[in-house]
Symmetry: C2
Subunit: 214 residues, 2 copies
Amino acid sequence: MRALTQNKTLLDQTYEALLEAICTGSIKAGERLNQDEIAARLSVSRQPVNSAIAMLKAQRFVNDTGRRGVVVAPIDRTIFESIYTFRTAVEPLAVRLATGRLTRDAITLGRDVIERGKRQVQAGERSAALRCDIEFHNLIYTLSGNLIISDTMSLNWRHLQRAMIEVLNVPGATLRVWKEHDEIFRSMVEGDAEGAAAMMHAHMINATLQIPEE
Amino acid sequence: MRALTQNKTLLDQTYEALLEAICTGSIKAGERLNQDEIAARLSVSRQPVNSAIAMLKAQRFVNDTGRRGVVVAPIDRTIFESIYTFRTAVEPLAVRLATGRLTRDAITLGRDVIERGKRQVQAGERSAALRCDIEFHNLIYTLSGNLIISDTMSLNWRHLQRAMIEVLNVPGATLRVWKEHDEIFRSMVEGDAEGAAAMMHAHMINATLQIPEE
DNA sequence: GTCTCACATTTCGTATACGACATTCGATCC
DNA sequence: GGATCGAATGTCGTATACGAAATGTGAGAC
């Protein structure tokens, strides 16, 4: 018995591969995407590659140069800041919704992520800590039961991930962040939705302030 | 002199045509999408059609049936409600951001939309009123200067439009709604960002309450 | 008459082919 | 020697071709 809707099509796989490569920085900002080359590297035809690139274009991960093909979008402070501003509104909402829907399993999961996150920060594992950060917030989106939040934020995190990996001095990899996560989650477990939401809002403001200037 | 980046590719045009057809209800929920048929009707090959459908799938406008092709996604109360919940957080943020960025032209535009909206409601033109509703909120997204808000909400509105056209009893087509729009915009013009945001929040709550039961 | 199994048909995903446009490079002209 | 124009090349968007998988169909068995 396997997952019912596995990403089986080459288009999906190609899209995932490209997005992953862009977000982990293995394809740098400004770099051109040559369809033939990508197709050869992934051992597929240009057809799925072409479609995948069209999707990435719509999601602003690549830009049309007008002249020849597309290039990976530059890391854009504006987008980065826009997402953080956006999160000041969305994250507290997600927390508010998720609080009433916490299950025993979810609580275990949450505590586990927080534990791991703290440990990664202490170990200086920035990349692993970032993954935990994503995981923590994703858990809340999922728990919120609001598909729009999950879908929207999952794309936004891809943009954030990209920016965060590029510039090393990012919010998310400090112990303070995980202390806040911990407090937020405790409030959620206690059922204090409004308190948790307020903390999450503060958490976002703090993170925004930590965005390096220029 | 024309727009520099016109939707010139057949893929873009096909995507737009399909999305429009789905959102205006000219392709009904549950209906199957036959690539050959669509290609023939639009006088293009299956290639752009296939790519366009893949994008619509990612955006949940169509569902994969697993068996043969895709069908237009059913009008889903859950998604509808999720978007409204989402908006209770995002709309006030957009208002807050937009208030500080109002230009003379924007004020003129806003007043004009509100005037037209009221008139359409009074004339009983539900469809035109809905378009004005979209236009009003879109103006605020644009003014907010936050690309994430604009992008995200523009897709969400497509979902809303679809649902609203299907069930006729929708929020948006009452005089009260436009009275609220008017008050919100007046506060914005006065520079009262927090007041306007609070009104927008209330506006969203009111709209959510008006969603017909089942 | 109904069930079953094989064969035909549909339709999709993907590969390959083609034509258009732009860029690049080289040859010619001054 | 440098500028300019045209041919060669690269690369994309799109069309067409192909193979696989699943559905529809019809004949034969009971």
